[in-house]
Every structure is written in C-alpha cells, then in structure tokens.
Amino acid sequence: MLQVALGIVVGSLYVWQRPFDMEANAATIDKHNLLDHQTSPRIVLIGGSGFSFGIKSPLLERETGYHPVNMGLNMGYGLDFMLHEVEDSLRAGDVVIVSPEYDMFGDFYYGQGPFIYSMLEHRPANLKYLSFGNVRELSDKGFLIVGGIFRYTVTRQGKEDKRVLAIEYFPYRRRAYNEYGDMTAHYPQPRRPYDIDMFAGPTTRHLTLENIDRAIDGMNRFAERCRRKEVRVFFSFAAISDHHYRLHAEVINLVAARLRQRLNFQIINTPDDAALPLDLFYDTYYHLTGEGAERNTLQLIDKLRKQGVGVKQE
C-alpha cells in the first residue's frame, strides 16, 4: 500500500510540475497537424532532428513548388516508427524523402525507450504507429523511464525546465519550429563547438550488417506501400560534419554500399555529398546552422530536380 500511495503522489506531482506544452517533443502534435492539413502536392521529410535542423522549407517550397512537411524531430523515435507514422497520411502525388541518421541503421532503428515514451506523453495517438520492436524497446528500458519520472519529480526539474523553455532562442522547445516543422530558433545564435566536441560521432557499435539490412528491409516495405499509393520515395544520406564523417568513414561507407546493393528506391546523393564543413554545424554533428541548412536545402533541391521533382518551368 505504501508503494502504491507513493506512486500516486509521485505521478501526480510529475504531471503537475512538468511543462508538457512547451517541450520540444510536443512539436509532434504540430507536425501531425501539418501532415493532415498541408496542401498537395507535398514533400514529406522523414528523419530525426538532423532533418529538422537541416532544411529550410520556405526555400524548398519556392524552388520546387511542393509544400513541405518536415516530420524530423528526434532520432530517438527510431526509423521504424517514423516510417509508420506518416504512411496512413500519404496522398497520391506526394514525394517522400527518407533521410535517417546513421545511428538509425543500428540500435536506434526501433528508437530508444525514454524518447519514445516522451513522445507518447505528448501525443498518445502515436501509440497506433508503434510496432512490436518499439514496444519491446519501451519494455526493455522501462526502468529508465520510471526512474526518469521519479528523478524529475523528486528534484523538481519542472521549475528549471519552465525557466529554460521560456527562453526565446532556446532551440529545444515546441515554439522553436516554424510552420513547416523546421527548427529555426537557433539561427541567430552562435555555434556551440564545445558541445560538438562532446560527441564522438554516430553510435556505430551496433551498425552490423544484420542491423543495416533490417533498416533497409523496413524502408523497402515502406517504399512498396508508397508505390501502391502513387507516392514517390527517395533516399537522401543525412548531413553530417565532415570531421565526424572521416572518423566513421568505414562504417558509413558500409551502410552506403549495402544501400546501393539492396535498397529498392532511388538514392539521390552520396555520403560524401552530405558531409559538410564542421563550421556549418550548430551543436552536434547532425544539427546544421541556418547557413548550413540553406546549403543543405539547395543541394537537396538540385538532386530532386535531377529526379524530375520540382523542375523549373522555362
């Protein structure tokens, strides 16, 4: 009885103190609204935070005539979930760009429990997109989730979060995204190279052949369902800093080679194309600055035009 009572108290305090509506993961609500209501023809962008930082949708819209829906939010949700969450909402004539961070070819394929849970807290309707792999991941990391809730409550983390999330230029908040789902709040801010240095690079330990093939098979199944809906799908290598690309070239090139062998839809660039100068990155090896996003978007536009998407009418 003591544990039950304590659980109820902790749970109530947790819900009361946490600023759910202000948090970055709440942007999943806005992105789904956009996905449901954005006018056709659409470009749907599937990826993690790398895509949310890495695209300037107004530029993309202007140059291609397609209306972007940037679903990029957090690679912790996993590629499997990201593919499922857009499927039902796709319409004939849509173009989909799948651009997973390299980690998602490994142990981020089914996401990471705490991130998936946080996403579900903000939009429980996302439950229907979970696969057995996601549920298993949630179950395996269940103690981390419960422990996180306990610690959050006991340390009154909500008070500090409310203060930080009120900062206008803080990128990791719901209001940091524009109307297309692009992360834009950080544009005026200087880079944070110290934060970039903290990261060794993508999680490569689990980038085994078996795991890479699992991700490719998942994307192929998605592409097949898209074809039936008359949706065009393209694969684009995620933008990564050239420094981290060189550090992990061997495994990145393994992913690329496997994709070229087994992926059943068009790859529009190369890992080398997507390796951009380090000073175009904001705070991690995937998160571009405004200038970096512009360059990345222009590259994407160019590649799409070569595929007949958004060809300029003379």
Binding site: Q3, S139, F150, R151
Partner: protein
C-alpha cells in the same frame, strides 16, 4: 532479455503464473522447459540447437551409464560426453586462443606457421551450462547419482533460465533432484526470493552499472592514467565485479525461489575473508566447488603427497583462470590466486569461533587480515581487467612507481566524474559503497542481507521502499550487460 528490465519481470511473472497454475510436476517442468528455451532464444537464436544437443547427449549418455556395467564401455561413454561437451566449449571459446598461442610459440623458436583462425561467436552461457551437464555424467559414472529417465526434467536442468547465462552452476544432486520431485508453492520462499532479487537489483543497477563508466574510462586511457587513479579504479572494479556478479546470482537464485527451488549459494560475502583460502571458499562458490570435485580431487588423489596436492591445487586454479576467458591474463590471474592459497593447504585450519558471524565489531587483527586479503585480490584484478599482458605489466609498473607521489592522489579523484551528466556525486558514491559494506557486514549471517524477518512489518516495508527509491533514483541512468556474460 536482461534480468534488470521490465521485459524480464513481465516474462517471470507470466512464467510464475502458468507454472503455479498447473499442479502436476510434469506440466510444471514443461512450462519451465519452454520458457527456458524461449528465454535463451531471445538472446541468441543461433545456438539453441547446441544447447539442446548438449542436453540430449548427456541424457543419453546418462541412460547408457545406468545400463552398462563393463568398465571399458562406461569409460567410453563418459569420454563421449566429455569430448562432446568440452569439445564444443573448447572450439567456441578457445580455438582461436590456442591457435594464436601456438603461432606465437612457433615463431619464438623460429618456425613460421599460418594457423587457422576461425570467426566464431561464443554461444551465451556455454561455460555455465556445459559444466552443469558434464557434472551430471561424471556423477552418474561415479555412481553418486542415478541417471534420470525424465528427458524433460533433464533438459530443464541444463537450460533452467534463471541460471543459464551466468550460473550458479547448480548440480544435478541439487537442482535435478528438485525438478524430479513434486513442488508446492511456498509463500515464505517466494517472499524471500523477491527480497533477494531486490537486493540484486540494488547491487547491479545502483552500484555495478554506475561504477562501470568510471572503471572503463580509466582502463581505456591507460597511457594517461596515473598510478593512484589506476589504484582507485582497481578498488572500484573490485566492487563493480562483486556487485555485478553477485547481483546476477541473487536475481537467479531469487527467481528460482519464486518457482520453488533452492539453488546453491554462490557468494558468501567474500570481501570479509581473512585469507585468500577463505576468499576462494566464499567467491563464485559453485564454480570453485565444481573445480574442486572434478579437477582437484581427481588430480590430487586420495592419499596424495603434499607436492602432488600442491600441484593439483595450482593446476585447478590455472584451469579456473582459463575458464574465465581465452587469455593468458586469466591464466596468470588464476595462478597467482592459486599460489596465494597454497600455504593454507599445509596449515591446520583454525576452528571457527562460534557466533563470530553475529559480531558487529571486528578485532584489529581480523580487520587487518580482511583489508590485506581484499587488497591482494584487488591487485590480482590487474590481470583480470587488463586487455593484454603488456597492459597488465604497465598498470603494475605505474601502481608501484607512483605509489609515493602524494600530490597525484588528490587529482585521481577526478576519475569519479567520467562524463558530463554522470549521476553520482563523489560523496554519494562513497556513501552508497559504505552502505553496501555496512549492510552486508551487519547481515552477514544470512544468505542475503534482506532477510529481515525479525523486523516489524512497517520497518521492513520502509526498508524495501527505501531501496526501491534508491534504485529508481540512482540506478536508472545506465544499462549495462552483466559482466560474467562474457565468460
């Protein structure tokens, strides 16, 4: 399916529910067998067949030994079992080690060879379930137990899911006997199992998993690690490996109790030992007892000379070192410990003072002995933890060369913060380790410290709530595989 995940708790709860719902022993064993194989296959589906083959081989050999009387044929059957089981273990675990060692030896005498190296993955748990199964055929051969005709019970004995990954190495005289007997649900036993599991969760999640990044970082950066920081890392590694391994045993034994089984004890507070010989009677007891019964006694013989007994002891420790992994480091580690135990063979064992396990205060003499035994074990861990022999030598050199550099000691405390966001402050880590030592010292007369039957109910529940809170607060940042899975 790691023990410290909700997935495993749900799995255990489902098995518990089905198991106690079916009343008949045969059905219960069926539930255990299915769940054990399901458990194993979720870890590694590729080697399920090997596990099955090991069990079937020794079951058939056991039956044969039960029927055949001629010594030569019996010996042949035993050899078939040993060759099959230990052959598989040798191939998967040691093939490349011996191949590479042979190449190095050949090179040292001027002979160029190109040995075959195969890309083999070691099946999880093979070191443990092989020893379990081999002990059965040896015991049947020796006439110590009757062979069983119950295939389901035998296969369950080999694959029993709480024990399969990292022991205890529960022998047929204990576990198989219980599998062949009728079982009734025992509430006190089940409660005790839950308590033991709770203690296991605390040791693994709060201590072992949080010590891992500290130790790992120091040993990964050997070239820049100072002697004092290596000494501190070794001390913490001693706690890490004890907490990790004994926690696994607690979780395994606790789960067994939930299912009505009393498993063999595996740890008896080894860091309170007053000599290396006592230490090895308290550390990984099921493994050491296995080596004693199947390696030491056969080698030493019945009325053996001191020299023969000494040689048998050393050989046993060398082999037990090798059991831990395909590396000369482990062999050396085993040898050093064997050499440390050797003198006690020739001393008269002192009578245990009655009630000693209940005393809170320890005599200065005993305290000194405990500390020196612990320090000695920490030193041997250099070979256990170092990746290579040259790394081990480097660590030892640094330890002794910089032991008197007092100024470096203070800066060594920096290792206690291995990364940004590390969950424990230095004082919190110290307090938790002190709590572990204190609780285990005070409760050392019991199999596990959460034997709190003498406490009032409210105090017991307060203690459980406190431990659960500690686990939730400190134990849920980092999830690490159990250390002994690699063996």
């Amino acid at each position: 399916m790691a023990f410290t995940t909700p997935t495993y708790i749900i799995f255990l709860a489902v098995v518990f529910g089905f198991y106690w719902t079916v009343r008949r022993r045969a059905w219960q064993n069926g539930v255990l067998l299915l769940s054990s194989y399901l458990f194993y296959l979720t870890w590694d589906a590729r080697f399920g067949a090997l596990l099955l083959a090991t069990g079937v081989l020794d079951y058939v050999v056991g039956l044969g030994l039960g029927r055949v009387r001629r010594p030569a044929v019996r010996r042949m059957l035993l050899i078939v079992s040993l060759a099959g089981d230990l052959g598989a273990l040798a191939f998967f675990k040691y093939f490349n080690f011996f191949s590479e060692s042979f190449r190095q030896f050949a090179q040292s005498i001027g002979w160029q060879t190109d040995p075959v190296l195969v890309k083999v993955l070691m099946p999880l748990g093979i070191s443990f379930y092989t020893f379990k199964s081999v002990s059965y055929t040896i015991d049947v051969y020796r006439g110590q137990i009757e062979p069983t005709r119950n295939l389901i019970a035998y296969l369950t004995y080999v694959a029993f899911f709480p024990q399969i990954m990292a022991g205890p190495i529960d022998r047929s005289g204990n576990l198989l006997r219980q599998l062949l007997a009728a079982r009734q649900f025992s509430y006190p036993l089940a409660v005790d199992g839950c308590r033991q599991m709770l203690w296991g969760f605390f040791k693994k999640m709060v201590l072992a998993d949080n010590l891992f990044p500290i130790v790992d970082r120091v040993f990964a950066t050997l070239t820049v690690s100072t002697g004092p920081s290596l000494a501190l890392a070794l001390l913490l590694f001693a706690f890490q490996i004890y907490c990790d391994f004994s926690a696994y045993s607690d979780l395994a034994i606790g789960a067994g109790k939930l299912l009505g089984f009393e498993s063999v004890r595996n740890f008896a507070y080894p860091y309170f030992s007053t000599s290396p010989a006592e230490f090895w009677r308290r550390w990984h007891m099921s493994l050491m007892n296995w080596f004693r019964d199947y390696v030491y006694f056969p080698l030493a013989g019945k009325s053996a000379s001191r020299i023969r007994r000494g040689a048998a002891l050393l050989a046993t420790f060398l082999l037990s070192g090798l059991w831990h992994g395909p590396s000369w480091n482990f062999v050396i580690w085993g040898g050093i410990n064997g050499a440390a135990v050797l003198p006690s063979m020739f001393q008269r064992r002192k009578k245990q003072i009655a009630g000693k396990e209940r005393r809170i205060l320890v005599s200065p003499k005993d305290l000194l002995k405990m500390l020196s035994t612990f320090a000695f074990f920490c030193l041997t861990l250099v070979f256990f933890r170092a990746a290579t022999l040259s790394d081990a030598i480097l660590i030892l050199k640094r330890l002794f060369a910089e032991a008197l550099h007092v100024r470096v000691y203070r800066s060594s405390l920096g290792i206690l913060h291995p990364f940004n966001g590390y969950p424990l402050e230095k004082w919190q880590l110290a307090l938790l380790l002190a709590a572990l030592v204190s609780v285990e010292w005070v409760q050392r007369k019991y199999e596990h410290p959460l034997t709190l039957d003498a406490w009032p109910r409210s105090a017991r529940w307060l203690a459980y709530t406190g431990i659960i809170s500690l686990v939730l607060y400190f134990g849920t940042y980092i999830v690490q595989e159990f250390y002994y899975f690699r063996f």
